[in-house]
């Protein structure tokens, strides 16, 4: 069953620039989709339509049968989005307050919020930081906090925009592990990156964008050999004709 259907989606910015054009994408529940493309190819613009931060100029985005523009709040609850810049995503004064921000907006009861906060913090391994101030966290911890903030809203789809930017090797592995365990727990994952090396070994599907359009869509091994035409570096292993390994081992 398709949990996400994007049909003929076009977005034009208010200054007239074309953001994305005529995008069609169907995502089944539980899929792990990597969206790649060079800088400015429209990845972020596409993702922002999934939870109604941008509304389409033309076309529709349908989440589990209901269009995003029809019920934006539902879309925001269903699609948890972890932004490119984790710092600007932090709203709260302490780690646990930040995680509680989303559930509070949903008007949940206090005990329910507490339950969700501790569950989300445990899921990302930040439980011992609950009363810390977010500014003192490291880059990787901030990103995990952003993930916890999103998890506390019980989303079905998780969207990660460049989750590995600015992270060191252990940081990347930590976040990757996190993403994989969320995928295993049944979340549908969409992830953008221009560095396929780190994640492609785990994905079921690869989508390549260029100039606001989807130019390739298929399984990683079908497509990975010609990504370089579109300004994305082909992972080393696949250049050498080997299977892409995991960064986790």
């Amino acid at each position: 069953m398709n949990i996400l259907e994007i049909i003929n989606l076009t977005h034009r910015f208010s200054n007239g620039a074309m953001g994305i054009e005529n995008i069609n994408l169907m995502v089944r529940e539980g899929e792990f989709v990597v969206i790649s493309g060079q800088n400015g190819s429209g990845k972020t613009t596409l993702l922002r339509h999934l939870n109604g931060l941008f509304l389409p100029t033309a076309g529709t985005v349908i989440l589990d049968g209901i269009s995003v523009s029809e019920n934006v709040v539902r879309a925001r609850q269903m699609v948890g989005m972890v932004f490119q810049d984790a710092d600007s995503q932090i709203v709260g004064e302490t780690v646990s307050e930040d995680v509680a921000f989303g559930p509070e907006n949903l008007c949940l009861s206090r005990p329910e919020i507490k339950k969700r906060v501790s569950h989300a913090l445990n899921a990302v391994g930040l439980a011992s930081f609950a009363d810390q101030r977010p500014h003192v966290l490291s880059g990787g911890e901030k990103r995990r906090l952003a993930i916890a903030g999103v998890l506390a809203m019980n989303p079905k789809i998780l969207v990660f925009d460049e989750p590995f930017s600015n992270l060191d090797y252990p940081g990347v592995r930590q976040i990757l592990k996190q993403i994989l365990s969320l995928h295993e727990a049944g979340h549908t994952i969409l992830l953008t990156t221009h560095d396929l090396e780190k994640v492609l070994g785990h994905a079921n599907r690869l989508v390549i964008m260029k100039d606001g359009k989807i130019v390739r869509d298929g399984t990683p091994d079908q497509i990975v050999t010609d990504v370089e035409t579109y300004g994305v570096r082909q992972p080393c292993a696949s250049r050498l004709g080997m299977e892409i390994g995991s960064w986790l081992n």
């Binding site: 004064e93 509070e104 009861s109 500014h135």
Partner: protein, 249 residues
């Protein structure tokens, strides 16, 4: 951000941490008002109590002094100005300037009052979670029909969330400009302009990102109410504070 640690919440389990924030706010206001009317004996008692309170909440004294160093310099100026400008019996005469005993007394009084208020604020802020301060302010404002308490509360929390960000940004901008030799420019107006414009631009950009992040997490003014609970302890504390105020007046 390390410089900002004192003027911010620190976790703890002391009595002052446990008290209800509404009562703490009320006590803060009461003592501040009383201290503005108090004289030397009352003030000394008050400052002594505040010093004990600071030891009790386990904030390091040196960091407090460091935090308020500029304020102390200001107080010294106030003291000197008062001492020199008030007519009365001279104590010291030096190069045509006379320091009078009345002036000295006045100066100490003013400094004592200002110092008390600052110490009080410091104790309040470091023992109360920002969300609790927000909740207390909201609670006090709710009876007033023309003030949108929830909106004010959100604004307060956003301001508190933003101050460290802005300071951090200011420091980064200043460092970046120093690295490129801004100090060779002697014109202060030029330097001010070159400093303020990028700082403002970045602050607004950050604010924009924060808005998007809040929207993505379903922000609405209609949210779960903050949790406040008062008990016998709080009433006793309030009663003691009232007695104290009467005593020092």
């Amino acid at each position: 951000m390390a410089e900002l640690t004192v003027f911010g919440y620190r976790t703890g389990t002391s009595l002052l941490h446990i008290l209800d924030s509404r009562f703490k706010l009320a006590c803060l206001i009461l003592i501040s008002l009383a201290s503005l009317k108090a004289y030397i004996p009352g003030l000394s008692l008050l400052i002594l109590l505040l010093v004990f309170a600071i030891i009790h909440i386990r904030v390091s004294f040196i960091s407090v002094l460091k935090e308020i160093q500029y304020f102390l310099i200001l107080l010294t100026f106030v003291l000197i100005a008062r001492a020199l400008s008030t007519p009365g019996t001279p104590v010291i005469e030096f190069m045509g300037l006379t320091m009078t005993s009345q002036g000295l007394y006045d100066g100490i009084l003013v400094c004592g009052r200002l110092g008390t208020v600052v110490l009080l604020g410091l104790i309040f802020v470091s023992t109360t979670r920002p969300s609790e301060i927000k909740a207390a302010v909201e609670w006090f404002l709710t009876p007033f029909p023309f003030i949108p308490a929830k909106r004010v509360a959100t604004m307060i929390s956003l301001v508190m969330r933003f101050i460290p960000t802005i300071l951090n940004q200011a420091k980064e901008t200043a460092d970046a400009q120093r690295a490129r030799g801004i100090e060779n420019r002697k014109n202060p107006v030029y330097r001010l302009i070159k400093f303020t414009i990028p700082l403002m631009r970045r602050t607004f950009e950050d604010a924009d990102k924060l808005i998007v992040a809040m929207e993505a997490r379903c922000y609405s003014e209609n949210r779960t109410d903050p949790e406040l609970s008062s008990g016998k302890k709080d009433w006793i504390a309030l009663l003691l504070v009232i007695c104290l105020c009467i005593l020092i007046l």
